[in-house]
C-alpha cells in the first residue's frame, strides 16, 4: 500500500501540465470547440505521437507503455483542468478498455496497437435516447443472419464519434422467434465502421461545447461474425468493468476541472477590490472557498483511490469505487464550478469568461455514464441494502 504518486507518475503529470499550459489556453479551447469535429487534430497528433498519451495504459505487447489507470487518470486530470476537447476520453479511456476486456487476441493486436500509435480513433455507442448508462437499456439490437448479424437501432450521447474510425456498438441480441422475457437479454459489443451502409451519424450541439457528441442510427447494418468483440457470449461483465474504468478516468478529469476552477477564482478574489478591500479578505468569501477546497480534496482522495482500484481490484470492488468516485467527483465539480461563478460576480456570468465553460462541463460530465443519483443507488445496492424496483432512471 503506497498512497502517493511515484516519481514516474509525478513526472507524467508535470510534463502534461507544462504541455497543456502552453497548448491549451482558454482561447484555443474556445476556438477548437467551434471547429467541425470540435477538437484540434494537430494537438491530438502531438498527444498521441510525440507524447505517447494514447499508448500509456496499453500493454507493451500491443505497442503500449504498459502502465495503468492511475497514469490515465493523471492525464485526464490535467486535460480536465484545461477542458481540453480531444478524442482522448472516447478512444483511450472508453473504447480501449472495452477492447481490452472483450476483444479477441487478433482484435486487440489490431486495434489497441492502432490506438497506441495514434492512428485509430474509436467511440462507444451505448446510451439510448434518454441517455441511460444501463447496459440493459441499450436501444440497438442484433439479429442473426446466417453466421453473421444485422444491427438495428440507435445510440445517443456518443462521445467524439463524428470523425471516429471505429464505432463499438453495444446491442441486445434478439433471437428470432423468441419473445422477450423477464430475463435480461444477452448483450454483445460489435465493431462497426461509421462509413458502413446503414449507419447515420449526426453531431448534436451540446450545452457543454468542449465535449462533442453525436447520435447514431443503425438501419439494418450488416455485421460479420468476426466483428463481434470476443466470442458469441454475453459481454455484460467485461463491458461493465470497462465502463467502470472509464468512469474512474472521468472522475479524475472532473477533479482537474474543479481544481482549476478553484485556483482561478481564488486568484480573482485576491485581486478584486470592493468596499476598499480585496474581496478575498471577507470571511464569507474565504469560507466558501474553504468549502470548495474541502470538496476538491475529498474528490481527489476518492478519484485516486478509484484509479488504483481500476487496476487492482475485483469487478465488484471496482464497481463500488467507480460509482462512489463518479458521484463524489461530479458533485464536487458541480459545486465548485457553481461557487466560482458566484464569487466572480457579474463577470463570471458572461459568455466571454471561462467560469461557465467549467460549470457546463461539470454538469455534462455528471450526466455522462450515469448521474450522481444513479451511482449512489448503485452504491446502495453494493452495500447490501437490497434491491428496489426503483423509478430512478438516470
Amino acid at each position: 500500500m503506497q498512497f502517493a504518486f511515484t516519481d514516474e507518475q509525478l513526472m507524467i503529470r508535470e510534463s502534461a501540465r507544462t504541455f497543456l499550459d502552453a497548448e491549451a489556453a482558454l482561447p484555443a479551447v474556445r476556438a477548437v470547440s467551434a471547429t467541425s469535429f470540435g477538437y484540434d487534430a494537430h494537438l491530438w497528433q502531438q498527444m498521441t505521437q510525440e507524447l505517447g498519451w494514447s499508448a500509456i495504459a496499453i500493454p507493451e505487447v500491443y505497442g503500449g507503455a504498459g502502465l495503468g489507470f492511475v497514469e490515465l487518470a493523471i492525464l485526464a486530470h490535467e486535460q480536465g483542468r484545461r477542458l481540453l476537447p480531444s478524442p482522448f476520453f472516447a478512444t483511450v479511456c472508453l473504447a480501449a478498455p472495452v477492447i481490452m476486456q472483450l476483444g479477441r487476441e487478433e482484435q486487440k493486436a489490431q486495434w489497441l496497437s492502432a490506438i497506441a500509435g495514434g492512428s485509430l480513433k474509436a467511440a462507444l455507442a451505448l446510451s439510448n435516447q434518454a441517455g441511460h448508462a444501463d447496459i440493459g437499456r441499450v436501444a440497438s439490437t442484433l439479429t442473426r443472419s446466417g453466421a453473421d448479424w444485422v444491427l438495428s437501432g440507435e445510440a445517443h450521447f456518443v462521445v467524439s464519434a463524428a470523425d471516429a474510425d471505429l464505432l463499438l456498438v453495444v446491442a441486445r441480441v434478439q433471437e428470432t422467434g423468441v419473445k422477450e422475457t423477464a430475463v435480461a437479454p444477452s448483450v454483445r459489443v460489435v465493431a462497426v465502421s461509421p462509413k458502413a451502409s446503414g449507419v447515420r451519424l449526426q453531431m448534436t450541439e451540446m450545452l457543454d461545447v468542449t465535449r462533442p457528441m453525436s447520435s447514431v442510427a443503425f438501419d439494418q447494418v450488416a455485421v460479420r461474425a468476426d466483428a463481434l468483440l470476443g466470442l458469441d457470449v454475453d459481454a455484460s461483465a467485461g463491458l461493465q468493468r470497462a465502463l467502470d474504468q472509464a468512469r474512474v478516468v472521468l472522475s479524475a478529469e472532473a477533479v482537474g476541472g474543479a481544481e482549476y476552477s478553484l485556483e482561478a477564482v481564488t486568484a480573482y478574489v485576491k485581486e478584486r477590490v470592493q468596499f476598499g478591500r480585496a474581496i478575498g479578505s471577507f470571511q464569507a468569501i474565504k469560507h466558501r472557498l474553504a468549502d470548495s477546497m474541502v470538496l476538491v480534496e475529498a474528490a481527489k482522495s476518492m478519484a485516486w483511490y478509484a484509479a488504483c482500484a481500476a487496476d487492482e481490484s475485483t469487478d465488484q470492488d471496482l464497481a463500488m469505487a467507480a460509482s462512489q468516485a463518479k458521484s463524489c467527483c461530479a458533485d464536487a465539480f458541480n459545486a465548485v464550478a457553481a461557487n466560482a461563478i458566484q464569487l466572480h460576480g457579474g463577470i463570471g456570468f458572461t459568455w466571454d469568461h471561462h467560469a461557465h465553460l467549467y460549470f457546463k462541463r461539470a454538469r455534462a460530465s455528471s450526466m455522462l455514464l450515469g448521474s450522481p443519483a444513479w451511482h449512489r443507488e448503485r452504491v446502495a445496492c453494493g452495500l447490501g441494502l437490497g434491491s428496489i424496483s426503483s423509478a430512478l432512471q438516470f
Binding site: G131, H156, F282
Partner: protein, 395 residues
C-alpha cells in the same frame, strides 16, 4: 388574518380575467406566452398602451395618475390573473414598478406630469443605471460623473462614465442614473439621481452576451451625455437616498408578478417530470415538494411584506425575501436539469419546456448575484435586521 377574498374582490378578478382573455385570444394573440424580456419589443409597446388605456398598467397607482388605487388584495388578484392569462412579460417594468413609485414619492409635480403618463402608456421605456464595473456589490463606489453646465439649451447635466448590467438598454427611451455630482466625494455622499434620455450621441449601448448565450444585459457608456438640469430626482447629493428607495420598490407589488413567473416555471418543471417519468422517482418527488413549499413561502412572505410595508418600516421578512428567492430559483434550476437528465444537455431542444427550463437553470446562476449578491444580502440581514456589528470597510 384571512386568506380568502371578498365577493367584490372576486368580481374584480372576473373583470380582469375576462378583459385579458379577450385581448389575448383576440388582437394580442401573438403576445400570449411571450416571456422573454427582449422579444417582440414593438408589439409589446402597443400592449403596454392597451393596458394603460384600460387603467390596468398599474392598478395600484392613484386614480389621478391613471391607476385604480387598488387595494393590496386587488393587486394580488391582478398579478394572478395576468399570469394565468399568459399575458406577455411587461416591457416597461422598470418604469412602472421602480421609477414611477420613486417619482410619486420624491418627484416634483412637474416631473410627475412629464413622466408618469408616458410610462403608463408604454410611450417611454425605462432602464436603470446603477452598477459599474467597480461598483457591483459596493454600489456606493459609483464613479460615473455628472456636472452642471450652461449652454444653448439652458443648464444641463453632462455625464461621463460607464454603467453595466443595464437590462433593456437597447430599446429604452430613458435611463435613471446614479452619478457622482460632487467632485472628490466618496462612498454614498455626493451622488445624484438623474433622468437621462437614451437617444443621444453621448450614449452608447453594448450588449453583454451571458452564459445563457443571449444578451439580456448591456454596458452603457456615457461620453458627455446630456440631460436638462431639472431632470434630477431629489436634491443634488441626495442620490443615494433616492436610489435606495427605488431598490426598496423591488420588494413591492412587482414581486407578485415575479412570483407568477416562478409558478409558471415550477409548473413547466412538474409537467416535464410527468412527461419523462421522473415524477415517480421518490428523490425527485421530495425535491419537487420542497420547491412547492418555497413557492408557498414566497407567496405568503410577499403578502406579509406588502401588508407590513403599508405600515412603514421594512419588516424582517422583507430583508430575507431577496435572498430567499435567489437561492430558491437556483435550486429550482438544478432540479429542472436533474429532472431532464441527459436530454437537458442538448443545446437546442425542439421541446419548448426543455429550452425554457435550461434557460432558467443557466440564468438563475445570476439570481444570487445581481441587485446585491447573496453575500451582501446576508450582511444586510445580519446588520439591519439582527443588529449585529457592521463589517469594517477596508483602509
Amino acid at each position: 388574518m384571512k386568506i380568502g377574498f371578498t365577493p367584490a374582490q372576486e368580481q374584480f378578478r372576473h373583470e380582469v380575467a375576462t378583459w385579458l382573455t379577450e385581448q389575448l385570444a383576440g388582437p394580442y394573440a401573438d403576445l400570449r406566452g411571450v416571456s422573454s424580456h427582449t422579444a417582440m419589443v414593438e408589439r409589446r409597446r402597443v400592449w403596454e398602451a392597451e393596458l394603460g388605456r384600460a387603467r390596468l398598467s398599474s392598478v395600484g397607482w392613484p386614480v389621478e395618475w391613471g391607476g385604480r388605487g387598488a387595494s393590496l388584495a386587488e393587486q394580488v388578484i391582478f398579478a394572478e390573473e395576468y399570469a394565468r392569462a399568459k399575458a406577455p412579460a411587461r416591457l416597461n417594468h422598470l418604469g412602472v414598478e421602480l421609477l414611477a413609485p420613486t417619482l410619486l414619492t420624491y418627484g416634483t409635480e412637474a416631473q410627475k406630469q412629464r413622466f408618469l403618463e408616458p410610462i403608463l402608456m408604454g410611450k417611454e421605456i425605462w432602464c436603470q443605471g446603477y452598477s459599474e464595473p467597480n461598483a457591483g456589490s459596493d454600489l456606493a463606489n459609483v464613479a460615473t460623473r455628472a456636472r452642471l453646465e450652461s449652454g444653448p439649451n439652458g443648464d444641463e447635466w453632462v455625464i461621463d462614465g460607464q454603467k453595466i448590467w443595464t437590462s433593456l438598454a437597447a430599446f429604452s427611451d430613458w435611463i435613471f442614473v446614479l452619478c457622482r455630482t460632487e467632485e472628490g466625494s466618496r462612498g454614498n455622499r455626493g451622488l445624484s439621481y438623474l433622468l437621462v434620455p437614451m437617444n443621444q450621441p453621448g450614449i452608447t449601448v453594448r450588449p453583454i452576451r451571458e452564459m445563457t448565450g443571449h444578451a439580456e444585459f448591456n454596458e452603457t457608456f456615457f461620453t458627455g451625455a446630456r440631460t436638462a438640469a431639472a431632470n434630477i430626482v431629489g436634491a443634488p447629493g441626495e442620490g443615494w437616498k433616492v436610489a435606495m428607495a427605488t431598490l426598496a420598490f423591488e420588494r413591492g407589488v412587482s414581486t407578485l408578478a415575479q412570483q407568477m413567473d416562478f409558478t409558471n416555471e415550477f409548473d413547466t418543471l412538474v409537467a416535464a417530470a410527468q412527461a419523462n417519468g421522473q415524477a415517480l422517482d421518490p428523490v425527485i418527488r421530495q425535491r419537487i415538494a420542497e420547491a412547492s413549499i418555497g413557492l408557498a413561502v414566497m407567496r405568503y412572505s410577499a403578502l406579509r411584506m406588502l401588508t407590513n410595508a403599508e405600515s412603514g418600516a421594512l419588516s424582517h421578512e422583507a430583508y430575507t425575501y431577496r435572498l430567499y428567492w435567489g437561492v430558491w430559483r437556483k435550486k429550482l434550476g438544478e432540479l429542472a436539469m436533474d429532472v431532464l437528465g441527459p436530454a437537458g444537455e442538448y443545446a437546442h431542444s425542439d421541446v419548448p419546456a426543455i429550452h425554457d427550463l435550461q434557460h432558467m437553470f443557466l440564468f438563475s446562476r445570476s439570481d444570487t448575484i445581481y441587485g446585491g449578491t447573496s453575500q451582501i444580502q446576508r450582511n444586510q440581514i445580519a446588520e439591519r435586521a439582527l443588529g449585529l456589528p457592521k463589517e469594517p470597510r477596508g483602509i
